[in-house]
Symmetry: C2
Subunit: 377 residues, 2 copies
């Protein structure tokens, strides 16, 4: 029974566009076999003109699976132990006619889809700046090192940098493609895609042989959002596809984060707009991303305490007296009274307190500091 | 009676540090004359050892006013028409022993303190980057041009850039100093301070003759926060004094904003931390600052709509078909069916719709686009 359902889903996968939400929803609500029957009977609610039915019936599912096998591509369907549970959140989550749970997921690679339980999508512009690709690469390396799978779309720019950063530290990275997994896209990243398959995972809802088209790119973005536990927009122009991924993640109630960048940078407009609109939270370190997508309590980012200084926690008169003293030359008590505005007893008490803590040295009228001071930024 | 109170406040201003919140609060709750009487009688609740009383009684208020006049410095006290109302919000707002309403405000310059009704503080690091000073200068110019007085502290870096940006467009800028207005500080900005006095305003709670000290810098920050309608942190390291200004503004329930910058920049750590901690909102344009500090409804920032494109608002099938067409070469209907995944009738209807809108041209099998396409960022 499960094998019959698998073949039915393979057949639909090769013939139904992900934008065809009616069919996908019907599959999710009943089964691929039931939908195949309806298409065979020519149900006009799913297939107004009969074309879809003819396309579906022309698919040779067994041949497709043989072709897939030749490329090391396997297929997983809901109910399989390898079916990523995040995808089920798409049920009923239709935006702009795309959406719904894919009928199946094609996979190529060595990593288990279950690693997506602990994952973050790093997405952004193809036309990324050096800053954007540096952040994507560096953060992906930290995330992968902390056992977080790095999900992206294998495009030029931010996507490729994120995959490479994870691969560089031997971590897991997952590329979600718009076309079939036998069709490397973009062609210029074919070598990268092979490396991702070797150490990580390539995923697509498009059957082998499917070429990319714009509709499939838009649909692919929903899969990135649904597969990852959270989505980070590293850099994105006003029109970047990364913003659609962020919108999907928000619709799925997954955490969305934006990386700050200069207000003068066109590719930081997108993430900053998401933060201003309270779609995304601001993240400034990869540790904050780990906290965002990590397990409750177990993955808290370190509090970004200022580096500790010898003067930390000093009561105010001690701090003010200490700060009033130059680092290299001595100072008289009278000068300290003038410089701090405190009266003499307060200055003397503060000097005693500082001397007890080893922060100043001196006696009588003349005192000097004992540790180097930091200059305020 | 008012003149006697003014002289009493002048006298206190020259002898009491702003950190002496007990005295400042007593003045706010009764009057400077009453506090002078208590100091004269040696009230130990205000003056444990009698030193403050002796300092106050040694002040020659009339001579101080004569000195001030020589420098073009005037004094304003609560109740004067020129008293900035924002300062009264400090009543009872004591943080770290500083705070409280100043006993008086010394002023030098041509602008009225009432212009602070429409104002924004731009503050930040002395050790600003080129990005920080560029943003401070550019935004100050836009704010000043929109009639918003630019408040800052005349320090090197962000402060000086903000003052200069406002002056460059003939706008109003207000520098709040830690020492007396006859003591230009920092010395290297003496010319800038003279220009601010000529076109704008210098303010301080320190009497003429007072030199700067660290305590006075900390106290000065509360005045910047209280005088401006909102505070924008442009760049600030973890330890920057600008963060204390932001904390004062937050304590006063004034809007606080942070300017994004690269996560790799140490001087953007401060504002990004404020945004993460929800002390500050993120601002990416000076117009957003105008909205933040401006009048309800009258100063809304323009919605940052994406630049309009010929394809804006197209229904999805039209958009997808249009986006599938290359900009220079024609495409056949069969190719469009393959590229979009739509069936033939949908593609034909979409082509008709696009042709009606003047976005494609063609007939029968072969079509091409009519307007240049924008590439996704």
């Amino acid at each position: 029974v499960i094998e019959a359902e698998r073949l039915a889903r393979v057949r639909l996968s090769a013939a139904v566009e992900p934008g065809h939400a009616d069919v996908l929803r019907a599959v999710a609500e009943s089964s691929a076999q039931a939908v195949l029957d309806r298409l065979r009977r020519g149900d006009p609610r799913l297939d107004r003109d009969g074309r879809l039915g003819r396309r579906v019936l022309a698919v040779d599912a067994a041949a497709l699976l043989t072709l897939a096998e030749r490329y090391g591509i396997s297929v997983t369907i809901p109910g399989d132990p390898t079916w990523p549970p995040g995808l089920d959140d798409l049920a009923g989550c239709v935006r702009d006619r795309r959406g719904e749970v894919p009928v199946c997921l094609w996979a190529r690679g060595s990593a288990s889809p279950l690693l997506l339980q602990r994952s973050a999508a790093l997405v952004g512009s193809r036309a990324a700046t050096a800053y954007g690709t540096a952040v994507a690469g560096d953060w992906a390396a930290v995330l992968a090192d902390r056992g977080v799978a790095v999900v992206s779309g294998a495009a030029y720019g931010v996507d490729a940098a994120a995959h490479r950063g994870a691969l560089a530290v031997g971590g897991v990275t997952v590329a979600v493609l718009a076309g079939g997994l036998d069709q490397p896209y973009p062609r210029g990243n074919a070598t990268l895609l092979d490396r991702i398959a070797a150490d990580g995972l390539l995923l697509s809802e498009a059957a082998p042989g499917s070429v990319v088209n714009r509709g499939r790119f838009l649909s692919r973005n929903r899969l990135i959002a649904a597969l990852a536990r959270g989505t980070v927009v590293v850099e994105a122009g006003r029109r970047s596809g990364a913003l659609s991924t962020a919108a999907w993640a928000a619709a799925l109630l997954r955490p969305v984060a934006g990386v700050p960048g200069p207000v003068t940078s066109a590719t930081s407009v997108g993430p900053m707009r998401l933060v201003r609109d309270q779609v995304a939270v601001l993240v400034t370190t990869p540790e904050e991303v780990v906290e965002l997508v990590g397990d409750f309590g177990a993955d808290l980012a370190p509090l970004s305490a200022a580096p500790s200084r010898a003067t930390d926690g000093l009561p105010e008169p001690l701090l003010v007296v200490r700060e009033a003293m130059p680092s290299r030359s001595p100072m008289t008590v009278a000068e300290l009274v003038a410089a701090t505005g405190y009266d003499l007893p307060t200055v003397l008490r503060a000097l005693d307190g500082l001397a007890e803590r080893g922060l100043v040295a001196g006696h009588g009228e003349t005192w000097r500091v004992r540790a180097p001071r930091r200059v305020d930024a």
